[in-house]
Structures are given as C-alpha cells and as structure tokens.
C-alpha cells in the first residue's frame, strides 16, 4: 500500500477520491505561513467549509468516503467556498434537522418508538404534534407512517423525532394519510429529487396528479388516483436511479401516449 502524498484539492474536483487520500489546500495569502484555520473558528475571510465525506487534519483534508469530489467556489460573503464528497449510500444515519418518514413500531405510555432505517429506533413523544396536550392525544396507531424531523440525533444518544417545528406549527409533518405506497431508494436519488426545480418531478406531474412525500432516510410515499397509476409512478421513480434523462423522457412519452 503506497502512502498517498498530498494532492492539491483543486486538481481533484470532479474526480473519484478514495478514503485515505490527503488533499492539500492552497496556502492562504492572508495567513503568511500560519496553519490554515478551517470551519469553526474566527470568521476570517476565506474560511473554508469542510463538508460530508471529508475530515480536517494536519496539513489539509482527509477523505473518509469514496465518491466524486465537489467544490463550491467562494461566493460573496459566504466564506472561502466549500469542499465535499458526493457518495452513493443506501444506509441512513440520523442527522439533526433531517425530515424523514418513519413507521411506528411500538406505543409505550407517552412515547412512540419509530423505525427510521437507522441503527436505533427513534423516540417520538405524544406531545410533539401540533395541538397535542395531555388530554388531547394524537391518533397514532402501530404501523402508521409519520413524517417528522429529528430534534436530537448524534452517535451517543437515541434519536428523537418531532412532528412540529421550532415555532410549534406542524408545517406538513405528522401522520401520513391512508392508502398510498411506501418504498425505499438510495440517498443520492432523494437528494436529486429534493433539489429545486427537479426535472423528474416536473415531468411526472404532467403525467398524472399525485401526492408525494420524500424522506431523507431513503423512503418515498406516493399516492395517485388509482392503484395502477401509483405503481407506474413508483416504478419510474425507482428506475430513475439508473436511467439517463433521454431514457426517462422516452419512457414517459410512451406512457402518456397510452
């Protein structure tokens, strides 16, 4: 195994990087020989953000996940740009603030246990719904689907889910209605679908009207007018992972011709 010497980070943008690669950062002109301060620290101009898949250390950044290296150049007052690694992953790790779809597995006293696809089940308090009080309990049964966000999610404690935001409003979270279809895709596809002005969703909405809930844990819930339409949308979303844009447009054109 060859010890990897540092490679300048800019040279690798858009290329495959493997865990263990060391990326050197350009010496900052303001620093005059000092070690570059990254991330949390004094808000100096040119502060670099180290995103997922990278870890700071020593002279530069160490890659911890394999994937393509991406870079967002410095834009106005948002510091010195950001580096991160786009990696493909199916296993979800709970992160604070993420909106996920969970399945209620147990109801104990004033706590629900929800399966979110992580290593541990998340806990959901019955008071964490809009308008819930000790007298007015939410109508949640075992097996229901919940759309909520993580209040607490770290490697040392059990994750906690809530269905209200910081101001106490539901804002779309809570129990997901009856019928519909839940299925699992990779995390990369979810991030693509959640990007603003996603083409896949726009093209699908011209085909049939449907309801869609995307969970950052890789789960998607779809409901259309008939079971057949629902299944068609499910199949297209699952296949979108591996289809190019032209193949998708061809498939949708064939369907809308029927």
């Amino acid at each position: 195994v060859m010890a990897a010497r540092g490679v300048p980070a800019e040279a690798c943008v858009g290329q495959l990087v493997l865990p263990g690669d060391v990326l050197l950062l350009p010496a900052h002109p303001d620093e005059d020989g000092e070690r570059l301060r990254l991330g949390a620290g004094a808000a100096r101009r040119g502060r670099l953000l180290c995103g997922p898949g990278l870890r700071r250390g020593g002279a530069g950044l160490t890659v911890t996940k394999c994937g393509l290296l991406r870079h967002r150049p410095a834009g106005g007052g948002s510091g010195g740009g950001a580096f991160w690694v786009d990696s493909q992953q199916k296993r979800y790790v709970p992160v604070k603030g993420d909106h996920v779809i969970g399945i209620v597995t147990a109801k104990t006293g004033d706590l629900f246990k929800v399966d979110v696809g992580g290593s541990e089940q998340a806990s959901l308090s019955y008071l964490a719904f809009e308008g819930a009080t000790k007298r007015n309990r939410p109508n949640v049964q075992v097996g229901d689907l919940i759309y909520g966000q993580f209040l607490v999610a770290n490697k040392d404690m059990e994750p906690e889910l809530v269905c209200i935001d910081s101001s106490g409003r539901a804002s779309g979270m809570g129990v997901i209605g009856q019928d519909g279809f839940l299925f699992k895709v990779s995390l990369g596809l979810i991030r693509k679908l959640l990007a603003p002005k996603c083409e896949i969703i726009q093209e699908l909405s011209q085909l049939y009207p449907f309801e869609l809930v995307l969970g950052m844990n890789g789960r998607i819930w779809v409901k259309a007018k008939t079971v057949q339409q629902t299944l068609i949308i499910v199949n297209i979303l699952e296949a979108c992972e591996y289809m190019t844009a032209e193949q998708r447009k061809q498939a949708l054109a064939k369907l809308s011709a029927n």
Partner: protein, 145 residues
C-alpha cells in the same frame, strides 16, 4: 473440625456518602448519564461500581437548562461526589454540582485529549474544534505538565 470461609486479603473499599470519586462515563441519555466508578479518592478499585448522574445533579445553577449531551460524552473521565448509596439496582447516585467536579479528561472526535478553555468548553488541539463539557476546575497543585 473447623470450617472457615476466607475472602480476599484486602477488605473491599466502598464509597461513602460525600466521597469524591473518579468515574468514566459509559452511556448517556437525555435524563441521566451512567458511569463506572474507577477510583475512590486516590485508591483504585478492583471491580468497578456503577453510578448514575442525574440531569439535575450535573450543575448547581440553571438546572433546567442543562443538556446531558453538552456536559458529558461516553468515554469522559469525571470527578463526582456520592450523594446517595443508590437504589435496588446498586447504582450509586453521584453529583457534579460544584466547581471542582466535572470532566477532567475528554477526547475529541480526532482521538486527541482536549484542552479546557472555560467551565463549559474544551478545545481539540489538532482540529481546533470546540466541544461542550461541564469542566472541573482542578486545583493547581494536582495539575502536572
């Protein structure tokens, strides 16, 4: 004939109420932290006792604003005082509600021992990231550099 049962030569040292003990955090929860008691005063124990530090016993002031995740993490070495001999599960109840009690040794995510910078923050010397802990103010005579 005489039958006798002989135990270990040294008698077992037990923590008393009010004794300062050194313990290691093994798990945390939003309500309390579970610890293993390693030393009583300055004598090491052969078998560790279990202890619990409740959320309201971590600090002396602003007890309701305490977050266990911002005071202790699994793996930290903590100085605590015994406040009760505990319940049926033989968990000693401990408290860190004094300036001299709290975290003395903690490791950052990089694996490096962190340096305390205030009573509630510690910093990693390699990555300069700051972490929250309830730091103990150790007397200068006990510090060794």
């Amino acid at each position: 004939p005489v039958v006798s049962v002989v135990r270990d030569a040294e008698s077992q040292l037990l923590p008393d109420v009010g004794a300062v003990v050194t313990c290691k955090v093994c798990s945390i929860n939003s309500r309390f932290a579970k610890v293993h008691i390693l030393y009583i005063g300055s004598t090491p124990l052969k078998s560790t006792f279990r202890g619990t530090i409740r959320r309201e016993d971590i600090r002396a002031t602003e007890k309701d604003k305490v977050e266990v995740y911002k005071s202790f993490r699994p793996g930290d070495i903590v100085l605590a005082k015994v406040i009760s001999l505990g319940d049926a599960q033989s968990n000693y109840l401990l408290s860190t509600a004094e300036n001299e009690l709290g975290v003395v040794v903690a490791r950052s995510e990089a694996g490096v021992p962190m340096v305390p910078i205030s009573w509630c923050e510690m910093q990693c010397p390699r990555t300069h990231t700051k972490d929250f802990r309830k730091v103990a103010r150790v007397q200068p005579q006990f510090l060794q550099t």
